[in-house]
């Protein structure tokens, strides 16, 4: 049972929650947070939308195909970053060996950020996906 108060508050809050989630993902290397936490926050904004309106309005903003695509993209991005290190001649996920024009420590920092973004993309799609699939109406 949703009322107009819940709907308005939810609609106003959703973009701020998503912005905060992206902030947490991007600032993972320098402040508390990271891909998992920020991804769950962004996914929770979709859950708030589904609870305050209904499932179909959340489904309209993040459809099944988009969620599956983001989910697979995140996992593939992480594995691909590992393979880049392999191609550069190092071990799997050894970022320091990747030949970029800066110090190895900075290269590692950049790739840690990229891995965080990949995890965030994966988790934000998955958190919304799991809730929407568990909550949708099942014919009994």
């Amino acid at each position: 049972m949703t009322t107009v108060v819940i709907q308005t508050i939810g609609r106003i809050l959703v973009p701020f929650i998503q912005l905060f989630g992206l902030y947490v993902i991007i600032h993972g290397p320098v402040s508390p947070g990271g891909g998992f936490q920020g991804g769950v926050i962004v996914g929770a904004s979709m859950i708030l939308l589904a609870l305050s309106y209904d499932l179909s309005s959340a489904e309209a903003r993040a459809s099944h195909k988009v969620r599956i695509a983001m989910d697979s993209t995140g996992a593939l991005l992480f594995a691909g970053i590992g393979l880049v290190a392999l191609l550069a001649g190092g071990f799997f996920l050894e970022y320091g060996i990747i030949p970029l024009p800066m110090a190895p420590a900075e290269v590692r920092g950049i790739f840690i950020l990229l891995v965080g973004v990949a995890i965030g993309i994966h988790i934000m799609a998955l958190a919304a996906s799991l809730f929407l699939h568990l909550a949708e109406e099942h014919e009994i």
Binding site: V30, S31, P32, G34, F36, I123, L130, H133, L134, H138, I140
Partner: protein, 113 residues
Amino acid sequence: MRFEFIAVNFPYFVSVALLLVGLYAMIVRKNLIKKIMGLNIFSTSVLFFLIAAGYKEGGAPPIRVPGIEVYVNPLPHALVLTGIVVALALTTFALALVIKIYKEYGTIDSDKL
């Protein structure tokens, strides 16, 4: 004499109590959803134990700030993050199985299945 250990290691005893609560819910409750809640309490107790084991007296959060030298152990934090995500995956899969069981049998009481 033995009781001063309880005061010193209080978080560990809280973790043991939480673990027993979760185990009790998993064993005694008939409702499958309540069993899953017990599983969650159980995993929370284990994660709490790990985080408590990583604490250092007077340690700062493990984010390097100039001028601070004592940090808590960052390794349990990373492992617990992994553990939380695996617990989430386990919980959602269990809930999906419960939904399928309810569709198939019309009940989530483990005695009537």
